[in-house]
Amino acid sequence: MTRDVPNPPTLMPDAATAPPMVEIQGVSKRFGDTVAVADASLTLERGAFLTIVGPSGCGKTTLLRMIAGFEHPSAGRIRIHGADVAALPAHKRAIGMVFQRLALFPHMSAADNIAYPLRRRGHAKAGIAARVEEMLALVRLDGLGERRPHELSGGQQQRVAIARALAFGPDLLLLDEPLSALDRHLREGMQLEFRRIQQDLGVTTINVTHDQREALVMSDQIVVMNHGRIEQASDPHTLYREPQTRFVASFLGVTSLFAAEVAAADGDRLTLRVGGETLRGRGLAAPGDAVDCAIRAEHVTVAPAGTPPREGGNTLPGICERVIFEGDRSAVIVRLPALGDRPVSAFAPAAAGLSAGAPVAVHLDPDTLFAFRATTKEELP
């Protein structure tokens, strides 16, 4: 299941003259017998926003802590600005970090929290006051500098935490799931706010989250991790459309997965054979390969049986099993005999007049039916 990612996709190729901001090569971390991170490699260009996403315990936080200098890799190399940081303690790395529980200093005011990194780094007194004002304005907390953390709301505390992490102008900003504690409404607001601040300052950022939506919303580049390994590294669009492994597909909310065999391949256009039917899809595989196919519910359309098939085929007969009215449309679960009666999620216009038990024609969009080499059972998440 592990794919070698010798040259992970990098963003902003125009910055190719300077060394990448972060370069991680074959980094592993073992705690006793447990492997937290296994042979992770990735490259991040200056100014980019990378999200490491994966379920809890996948090693994403450990990887982040190694970049910050709170953990030391068992193997591999981490370079920041082209320089190996192995011997550099955390307080000498120019990295700002926002912690999961924020870790604001409760005995200091918001302004003192923000001034803390400046004081510890020996900035001039006059400069500090001005910089604190500037940071408070950046995170829209003007006038609240004298409040203690416990006198601020959850969202305001987030802003103090990010202002503190950015106050000394770090090369790199690390976010360790700082938004996970917020309620959904506030979280979505803060995602856009963090992204705005990041883009305003152009600071290279690595965010860690278990929320795939957050990853898609905020990032230029996404790394999906599972069991300590990097499953896929790409930009959000590619990741969403073309998951390379079964795990990535299911993690990104692909609802329907089924097995098929590649009959023919023309570039990434595949002809797939499944249960005596022929389907067209995309993916990197050779004829004869056993593949897993993934398709999202929004790319499966259901029409009453007898509707003239769409051009280009990819329409299979099925039986409508459940119809869930959702207002503007209906969520439909259909069973396709060709797929061994596997349930497939789909959507249909609310006006389609479908009912459970009715025979239907199911169209699978060939551009979004994505195939990847099949995984063995024990590798499944």
Binding site: A68, H91, A103, Y116
Partner: protein
């Protein structure tokens, strides 16, 4: 009519006060004792019949305060309590810190066992133990002479008394520091480090201020326990390093002047309470974890 009106008028059981009752009773007994002691201290000893005079006077206080020895012992006691508190906290902090932060369960268990073991040995027994170890023919001098160094008179000095007291107070201080340090998330320390602070700065600007409730609590406990200690100065000081409690004991049982002993006791209680009050006023009760009053 609504039947629910009856429970509203029914008197509710004062559960809170009931739960407090045993503690209040105990405090009450202590206060009665204190009152009796105060009463006793206001009667001068009649040397003609060796009974306390029935009339009230401040004579005992006048006598006690006019004697230089009172002030000498008082100074020795307070200085000792201060030094012991300081030394105990300096030693207890790293111990408690290691105990809270160590990733190894084995180390934590070992530290806990080492912490609780001394509680099984009473203070007097412990003092006699040191008497044997530090004696002229004891283990400490055996080591010194073994190393080719001259034997030392280790016993009956101020330093030895303070050493014994620190050793006795250490577990109390560690126990009071553990919850305070455990309440500081380790991410706070990491945050400080990540923001550019080296370890001494993190200690000074983050750890120490956040550990304040534990430090205040531990210093009050160690200070008051030391201030009123009797056995350690008595045994390890061998009568040459008396603390104030010894002076009170002597007044009651050596010269049988209960009035004077009571006056000395009131003096110690008053001064000790004043010091604790000053600590609380300076630190604010909020530092002990009470809800901050506004």
């Amino acid at each position: 009519m609504n039947a629910g009106a009856a429970p509203a008028t029914r008197r509710r059981l004062p559960t809170g006060w009931l739960l407090l009752a045993p503690a209040l009773l105990l405090t009450g007994v202590l206060l009665i004792g204190l009152g009796q002691m105060l009463e006793l201290s206001l009667h001068e000893l009649d040397l003609s019949n060796y009974r306390l005079k029935p009339e009230y006077s401040l004579a005992n206080y006048e006598t006690v305060l006019s004697r230089p020895v009172t002030w000498r012992v008082l100074l020795r006691t307070f200085a000792g309590a201060g030094l012991v508190t300081l030394a105990t906290l300096i030693l207890a902090f790293p111990y408690a810190y290691l105990l809270v932060r160590t990733p190894s369960a084995l180390v934590r268990k070992a530290l806990l066992v080492a912490l609780f073991l001394p509680f099984f040995i009473g203070q007097v027994v412990r003092a006699y133990g040191w008497l044997i170890i530090l004696g002229r023919e004891g283990l400490a001098n055996a080591v010194l002479t073994g190393l080719g160094l001259p034997a030392q008179d280790l016993l009956f000095s101020y330093g030895t008394v303070l050493f014994g007291l620190v050793q006795y107070m250490l577990p109390f201080a560690v126990l009071l520091l553990i919850p305070a340090l455990a309440a500081i998330p380790d991410d706070i320390e990491r945050a400080s480090e990540g923001l550019g602070a080296n370890w001494p700065s993190t200690f000074l600007f983050v750890l120490l201020p956040l550990a304040r409730p534990g430090l205040i609590g531990a210093s009050v406990v160690v200070f008051t326990l030391t201030l009123t200690d009797f056995a350690m100065p008595e045994i390890l000081g061998g009568g040459t390093q008396d603390f104030f409690a010894s002076a009170i004991y002597d007044a009651f049982f050596q010269i049988s002047n209960a009035g004077q002993g009571a006056a000395l006791a009131m003096l110690l209680t008053g001064l000790g309470s004043a010091v604790v009050a000053v600590i609380f006023i300076l630190a604010g009760t909020g530092t002990l974890g009470f809800r901050q009053s506004r």
